[in-house]
Symmetry: C2
Subunit: 325 residues, 2 copies
C-alpha cells in the first residue's frame, strides 16, 4: 500500500513531472508543444504559432495582500505572463484574467487592481478578452492565461542549448528578493528594489528581438531563481554549467545569494553560440541600447553545476523556490 504523504514531500517540480508523464494525454499533433517550457505552442499558420501560458498568484504565498498596493498587484499579475511569452521569443496579444477575492474586499481595491492590470495591458497592446470573477473564502487568488504569437523560426525552447554555449542574463539579478526583504522588514531603503518586486518589468521587446536571432539557442525567464531556472535548461538540454559570477550580475541592492536564488527577477536567461556572442552583444547595444551579462558556459557534464564568484567556488545550498517546500 502506498504511503500517504503530503504534496510538499512530492514537491512542485515532482508533481509537474508526474502530471506531464501520467495525465497530459495522447501525443500531440505536429507542431504542438505541451508541458515543459514557459509556454505551450499551437500552430497558427504555416509561418507562425500561438504561444499560451497560464500563471496563478496566491495571497500570502506569492504576495502579501497588506503590503502590496493593489495597482502594483494588477500590474505584476500581467507582467509575469508577459515575461513567459517574451521568454519563448514571442509577442503577447490577449489576456484572460480570473480574480477571486473575499466578499468584504473594498471595491476600491478591485478597481485599483484592474487599473494596474489594464495600464500595463494598454502599454503592451494586449487585449483583455475574458476571464472570471468570483468570491473566495480566505485567499486572494489570481490567474492570468495569455496568448501571444511568434514566427516559428523565433520560438526558443529550454531543450535547444548546446555544450559550449555562453550563458547570458539580460540584467542584474536579486533586486526583487532584496526589495521583498525590505518590505517585510519595513526598511524601504531602496525604491528601485521595491519597485522591482512590486512591478517587475517583463522583457517584452528584448524577448522578441532575441527570438529573431538564430544564434540564441535556449531561452527562459527567471522566475524561481537563476540556479533553479538554469537547472531546467540543463536538464532539458542534457548539459552542465560552469558559472563565473562577477559584480555585473548582482543588483546593487542584492546579495550574491539573492542574485543566484532569490527569484521573481523576470529577467531573461538564454544561451548563445560562442562564436556569435560578440556580435550579439554589439547588436543588442546598437539596436536596443541593452547590455547583456555573460555568466558562464555550458559543459557536456549533464546536470553538473560549478559556480564561482570572483574565482572562488560557491557552495550551492538552495537552487531557488519550490512553492510546496
Amino acid at each position: 500500500m502506498a504511503k500517504i504523504s503530503s504534496i510538499s514531500s512530492l514537491g512542485e517540480f515532482g508533481f509537474i513531472d508526474e502530471i506531464s508523464k501520467n495525465y497530459a494525454g495522447a501525443p500531440l499533433p505536429l507542431g504542438w508543444l505541451g508541458i515543459g517550457d514557459d509556454c505551450a505552442v499551437i500552430p497558427k499558420d504555416t509561418e507562425n504559432s500561438w504561444l499560451i501560458t497560464t500563471d496563478m498568484l496566491l495571497g500570502s504565498v506569492h504576495f502579501l495582500p497588506d503590503l502590496i498596493p493593489p495597482r502594483s498587484l494588477g500590474y505584476k499579475s500581467l507582467a509575469v505572463s508577459l515575461s513567459d511569452i517574451a521568454a519563448m521569443g514571442g509577442t503577447a496579444r490577449a489576456a484572460f484574467l480570473s480574480l477571486a477575492m473575499p466578499k468584504n474586499t473594498d471595491d476600491t481595491w478591485a478597481r485599483e487592481f484592474m487599473q494596474g492590470f489594464s495600464d500595463l495591458a494598454a502599454a503592451e497592446n494586449v487585449s483583455l478578452l475574458g476571464g472570471d470573477t468570483t468570491a473566495s473564502k480566505n485567499d486572494i487568488c489570481i490567474n492570468v492565461a495569455m496568448m501571444g504569437e511568434a514566427p516559428n523560426m523565433s520560438i526558443k525552447l529550454r531543450s535547444s542549448a548546446h555544450a559550449g554555449d555562453i550563458v547570458v542574463v539580460s540584467r542584474p539579478l536579486g533586486a526583487s528578493a532584496a526589495g521583498f526583504n525590505m518590505i517585510l522588514n519595513q526598511k524601504l531603503e531602496n525604491s528601485a528594489a521595491i519597485r522591482a518586486h512590486h512591478e517587475p518589468v517583463a522583457e517584452t521587446r528584448l524577448g522578441a528581438w532575441l527570438g529573431a536571432q538564430n544564434d540564441v539557442h535556449a531561452m527562459m525567464d527567471i522566475s524561481d531563481g537563476l540556479l533553479q531556472d538554469l537547472s531546467h535548461i540543463l536538464r532539458a538540454s542534457s548539459a552542465g554549467a560552469r558559472l563565473d559570477i562577477t559584480g555585473a550580475l548582482i543588483h546593487p541592492a542584492a546579495s550574491l545569494e539573492q542574485a543566484l536564488s532569490g527569484g521573481e527577477d523576470y529577467a531573461l536567461l538564454f544561451t548563445v553560440a560562442p562564436d556569435a556572442f560578440a556580435k550579439l552583444v554589439s547588436n543588442a547595444k546598437k539596436e536596443l541600447g541593452r547590455d547583456l551579462i555573460a555568466i558562464g558556459t555550458l559543459t557536456p557534464d549533464a546536470g553538473e553545476y560549478d559556480v564561482f564568484h570572483h574565482g572562488k567556488r560557491v557552495k550551492i545550498t538552495k537552487l531557488g523556490f519550490d512553492h510546496f517546500a
Copy 2:
C-alpha cells in the same frame, strides 16, 4: 469622494460590466470577440475560429473540499470549461490547469484529482498543454483555461436571439442543486442528483451539433441558474421572455425553484426560429437520440420576464447565483 464599499455591494455582474467598459482595452481586430459570451473568439483561418474560456473554482465557494471526492472535483473542473466551449457551438482541443492547494494536502488527493481531470480529457480528446501548480495558504483554488474551435458559421452568441424565438433547454434542470442539498444534509437519497452535482455532464456533442444548425440563434450554458443565465441573453438581444414551465423542465429530484434558479446545471439554453423548431426537435431525436425541452418564447419587451408554472404566474424572488452576494 467616492464612498468605500465592498465588492459584494457592486456584485459579480456589476464588476464584470465595469471591467468590460473600463479595463478591456482598445477595440478588437475584425473577427475577434472579447468579454460578454461564454468564450472569447480569435480567428483561426478564413473558415474557423478559436474559442477561449477560463473558469475559476474555489474551495468553500464552488465546492466543499471535505464533501467532494477529488476525482469528481478533477472531472468537474474540466467539465465546466467543456460546457463553455459547447455553448458557443465549438469543440474543445486544449486545456491549461492551474491548481493551488495547501501544503499539507495529501499527494493521493492531488493524484486522484488529476485522474478525474485526465479521464474526462481523454474521453473528450482534449490535451493538457500546460498550467501552474502552487501552494495556497488556505483555499484550494483551481483555474482551467481552455481552447476549442468552431467553424465561423457555427458560433452562437448571446446577442443573436430574436423576438418570437422558441426558448429551449437541453435537459431537465435542478438536479445539481438538489444533489448539493442532499450532500449538505447528508441525505444521499438520489444518486443521479448527487452525480449531477459532482460530475456534471457537459453537452459537448449536442453543442457542436446545435452550432451547425442555422436556425439556432443564441446559445449559452446554464451555470448560474436558468433565470439568471436567460437574463443575459435577454439583455444582450434586447428581448423579453414568456416562460411556461411544465414538469418536463424539472428534474425528478428537484423543486421548481431549484430548476429555475439552482445553478450548476451545465445544460444548454438556446433560442430557435419558431418555424424551424419542429424539424430541429425531430433531427435531434433522430441524429443524437436527444429530447429538447421548449420552455417559452422571446418577446419584444426588452428585459421583461413572465414566468408561468402550469399556467400559474411564478413570483421571481431570485434569478440565480451572484458569487459576491
